[in-house]
Amino acid sequence: MLIGIAVVGVLVLGIGLGVGLARGDGNGASAWAGTELAEPQPKPAIVLPDTDGRPFDLQAETEGRLTILFFGYTSCPDICPANLITLDKALTTMPGDVRAAAQVVFVSVDPVRDSPDVIRSYLDQYDRSFVGLTGTADQLADAQDIAQVPRATFDEPDDSDFYTVGHASQMIAYSPDGSAHIVYPFGTRQVDWARDLPRLARGETP
């Protein structure tokens, strides 16, 4: 039995190491860590209230800047915190000009639980510069349609009235030219962001 475990262990570990070495430092052989889009997507014409209650015009307010758009909700147990903390930690390692060039916009798809204050407190855990947007259910549904992401779906509440929300897990990176050429799926790592952010901020596109 011990020999069996040893052989299986060495084989699997060896395969793991081999796969790791073959894969190198990113997601495949692409020059970009994110997923390149076949056709660029224009920055959506979304106008939603921000956490101060003022209307935030996505196109106008982020013109000429690298904009990373993400739909989520503050009670999310897995995807949203992982996405936000990974992006935030990568940004903190970037030079000041890259940080200044990037604008992160979080749109909550859960208007019932996510009041502006809740969204603000949530984003402040990561970075005070992150913009939080909310709106009515209809406004948010329209915003997801315009951004070409699937609409959020709401699960049945459990005994404690907690419910989860199915939502788009990718983060869309709009280059300074006003179009998204690349998206970052759930699982994007700090090292991936660190590889792409400076180039995106400079206006490079795939």
Partner: protein, 286 residues
Amino acid sequence: MRFWCVRLLSDWSWEWRPYYGVWVLVAAFATVYGLSWRRHLRVTGRSLVAADRRHVYRFAGALAVLWITSDWPLGALGSGYLLSAHMMQFLLYVLGVAPLMLLGVPEWMARRFVHRLQIDRLYRIVARPLVAGVLFNVLLVCSHAPDTVDLLRGSQLGSFVIDMTWLLMGLIAWSPVISPLPEVVHESVLIKMAYLFLAIGGVSIVPAGFMVFSEYPLYSAYELAPRVGLSAVDDQQLAGAIMKVGMVPVVWGAMAVMWARWFYADHAGDQSYRRARADAPPRSEV
């Protein structure tokens, strides 16, 4: 209910979760050990003496550490949340469970075990200091490679393989020093001390250094896991420190014990030699 601790995407909770594979493994070890003792005592017609009890206590200690290391909460934290907990598990398997197991198995049981598995020759080869040291460190590097950990921690079987590989690594690493088979243990104290220093305490500085000094998290399994207090980079630095510093007390402690035993044995030998010389009649009288 799960077989073995595995990576989960849900938030960490201090609510107890059962992992029956851990209980089955511990029970299996205890049963085989207990039955071996029963059979041995029946065949030899003797009862447990103090030296036997020491073996039993050490093996019981090994199983206790095995249980604590593999089960909730440390097993669950280490398999899916904190790299530092994962590293604690590694140290406990290699520096706790494995040596206690070797010290808890009496010679007759070890002999029967390797004979029944027909690994007598293999074990003697593997337990040579050079072979054991190389094997331990190759497995150390492989089992801590980011892609290995990311791949295996995602499934219960993979997580089990990682944990058992560490246990096996520990058994291999400690065999040249404290194997229950005396012919396997290297005779030279100096070589044993050098082996411990270089083989067990030496190479780990490389992966530990990567963990401490890397700007970004190396393991996606722990980077993307729900956070438990520490950021991914802080957790990784802590894991690197645990890997390096955690080895020190056990490895240096073992070296100190070996040196002290050797010194006193040698000293005692000198004294008895001097006494013998003093008691002996003068050479001219012989």
